[in-house]
């Protein structure tokens, strides 16, 4: 289990992470969502004792990460798949970690096999690895000590669709066996498919937190009209918040009955009216974090 309490990190006057709190329970996959630069990686580095927090703290398995006697046997960490020595072979990188945390050399072959790096790949130097292969190597490294907790930063980056599907299965199974998984992503679809808990972060702050079901249920109704502008105006006059997508669909945080009534009163013909469902989270994500990425790029 992972508990994050009021974690903050300031660089000068810039607050990279501000008062972030959440808990990851055993048996669950927690998706840590946010646009680039929102503070996901900084938060995860603080959890793993690599970045000292400005205030607040985090515990893993009940103690601060730095107080875990042999963390590799309790927590599997993959913070950046690119952070491997380019001049080392994949097998050598794993062998070093195995020696460090005191697991049998057989575990190296076992994990290489598990993540789908064959003998040829294991013999090659990491310099020649694609990002997807580095992710697989990093995942093998994280799993090496048979931990009960996994902390993975953007593990799907660079994986092909088959690899992403495979990894979802692996993480799901890990959690179903009682493990705790925290994984970050800026790709909503990736997290939505595997997580049962969500923590959404924007500009260093938690903007939404809860079970996926709760957050999806709160996503409201999706409505499409022949004349979306008139409908949007009518909905706003009725006191409802409207989020417009580029394809003309509107997402409204109200049930279908209320939205249909507003449309009927305004005399607008509807093309589609349904619960926002899977797409709702995407709307929420875009709304909650709107403009962050742009600001990040411009800054």
């Amino acid at each position: 289990m992972i508990a994050v309490e009021h974690l903050s990190k300031r660089y000068g006057r810039h607050a990279a992470v501000e008062d972030v709190s959440f808990v990851c329970e055993p048996g669950t996959v927690t998706g840590f969502l946010g646009p680039n630069g929102a503070g996901k990686s900084t938060t995860m580095r603080m959890i793993c004792g690599l970045t000292p927090p400005s205030s607040g703290g985090a515990t893993v398995c009940g103690v601060g990460y730095r107080h875990l006697p042999n963390p590799g046997r309790q927590v599997g960490v993959l913070l950046d798949a690119a952070a491997q020595h380019a001049g080392r072979t994949g097998r050598e990188a794993l062998t070093l970690s195995a020696q460090l945390i005191g697991v049998d050399r057989r575990a190296v072959e076992e994990k290489l096999d598990l993540v789908g790096l064959n003998a040829v790949a294991a013999k090659r130097r990491v310099r020649a690895y694609s990002l997807g292969m580095r992710q697989r190597l990093g995942l093998a490294q994280a799993l090496l000590g048979d931990p009960r907790v996994l902390i993975l930063d953007e593990p799907a980056n660079g994986l092909d669709p088959e690899g992403i599907y495979w990894m979802r299965g692996l993480l799901r199974e890990f959690a179903d066996r009682g493990g705790t998984v925290l994984l970050s992503s800026h790709l909503l679809r990736e997290v939505e498919a595997v997580a049962d808990q969500l923590v959404v972060i924007g500009r260093g702050r938690v903007v939404a937190r809860g079970s996926k079901r709760e957050l999806l249920a709160g996503a409201g109704t999706l409505v499409r009209a022949r004349d979306p502008q008139t409908l949007a105006g009518a909905l706003r006059r009725a006191g409802l918040a409207v989020t417009a997508a580029t394809d003309g669909a509107l997402t409204v945080p109200a049930d279908a009955g209320a939205v249909g009534q507003v449309a009927a009163d305004a005399g607008v013909a509807l093309l589609e009216l349904r619960p926002a469902g899977g797409g709702g989270l995407e709307q929420m994500f875009l709304t909650l974090t709107a403009g962050d990425s742009v600001k990040e790029a411009v800054r």
């Binding site: 055993p26 990686s41 580095r45 793993c48 004792g49 690599l50 970045t51 000292p52 990460y65 730095r66 875990l68 006697p69 042999n70 963390p71 590799g72 046997r73 309790q74 960490v77 913070l79 950046d80 690119a82 952070a83 491997q84 020595h85 380019a86 001049g87 080392r88 050598e92 070093l96 970690s97 020696q99 460090l100 945390i101 005191g102 076992e110 598990l114 789908g116 130097r125 490294q141 799993l143 048979d146 931990p147 009960r148 495979w166 299965g169 692996l170 199974e173 890990f174 066996r177 009682g178 493990g179």
Partner: protein, 258 residues
């Protein structure tokens, strides 16, 4: 694909890795990358090359085992600090610190292991110098020369101090600067500049006798080191090795890793 990712509950495997284990890992890291591997090969080849010169070139001809031994210390001693520097800076440039410090969050233990591994490597290099000297002596005699086996065992201890402190100084510069080119350049440049200044400025001549490692460490390549010379070794190493080492350890332990 079936998985074996078990999330086992509590197990008797929580003991932190011992310093011996950590040192073993650090020693392995010195040789398991392409750069590290070739650096070690180069050190060995340089020692062999010097011995060859001493066999072939009349003016440089070695007359004893001791000649071969002391001559091999210099080329080896030039590259050993680079081994020390790379041991630290390659982890930062390749960002393997993310893994290292995630697995061993008590960073001072990693630092201790690196210092221990560096010391082992420095002392082990003396073994290479001995082997090269032995080979040189045998070949010299077989080739019809008259090379004596005369050698004073005290030279081995002095050489071990010289080479081990060389690696440790490299580690210190590496930890202080955390940047390969900067650490390598400064490591070679600072003592040279200091030596030049000592030659040029009369007021610096006296302190240079105590602080210029190019001068103070020279006696360590011989079997005879006086108490006064040991004092100069100690003072110069305190400035060039110990001070950057302490500052470097503080930096590494506190640094944000990303």
């Amino acid at each position: 694909m079936t998985t074996t990712t078990t999330a086992r509950a509590g197990a008797p495997r929580m003991a932190p890795p011992s310093l011996v284990r950590l040192t073993g890992v650090e020693l392995r890291k010195l040789a398991d990358t392409r750069a590290g591997y070739w650096l070690l090969i180069t050190i060995g080849l340089l020692a062999a090359a010097i011995a060859t010169v001493q066999l072939v070139v009349p003016d440089a001809r070695a007359r004893s085992f001791a000649d071969f031994f002391s001559a091999s210390l210099l080329p080896v001693g030039v590259l050993l600090p680079v081994l020390g520097i790379l041991s630290v800076t390659s982890e930062w440039s390749q960002r393997t610190t993310l893994t290292t410090f995630a697995l061993v969050p008590r960073r001072h233990r990693v630092v201790l292991a690196k210092l221990a591994a560096g010391t082992v490597a420095g002392v082990a290099s003396v073994g290479i110098s001995l082997a090269v000297a032995a080979a040189g002596t045998v070949i010299g005699n077989v080739a019809g020369g008259d090379v004596s086996w005369s050698f004073e065992a005290a030279a081995i201890g002095h050489a071990a101090v010289l080479q081990a402190t060389g690696v440790l100084t490299g580690l210190a510069f590496g930890m202080l600067l955390l940047h390969t080119p900067l650490a390598v350049v400064l490591y070679f440049l600072l003592p040279t500049v200091w030596g030049l200044l000592g030659d040029m400025i009369p007021a610096l001549r006296a302190p240079a006798q105590w602080l210029d490692t190019g001068v103070t460490l020279m006696p360590l390549a011989t079997p005879d080191v006086t108490a006064g010379q040991w004092a100069r070794v100690a003072v110069s190493l305190a400035v060039w090795m110990l001070a950057p080492l302490l500052a470097g350890v503080v930096r590494v332990v506190r640094a944000e890793v990303c």
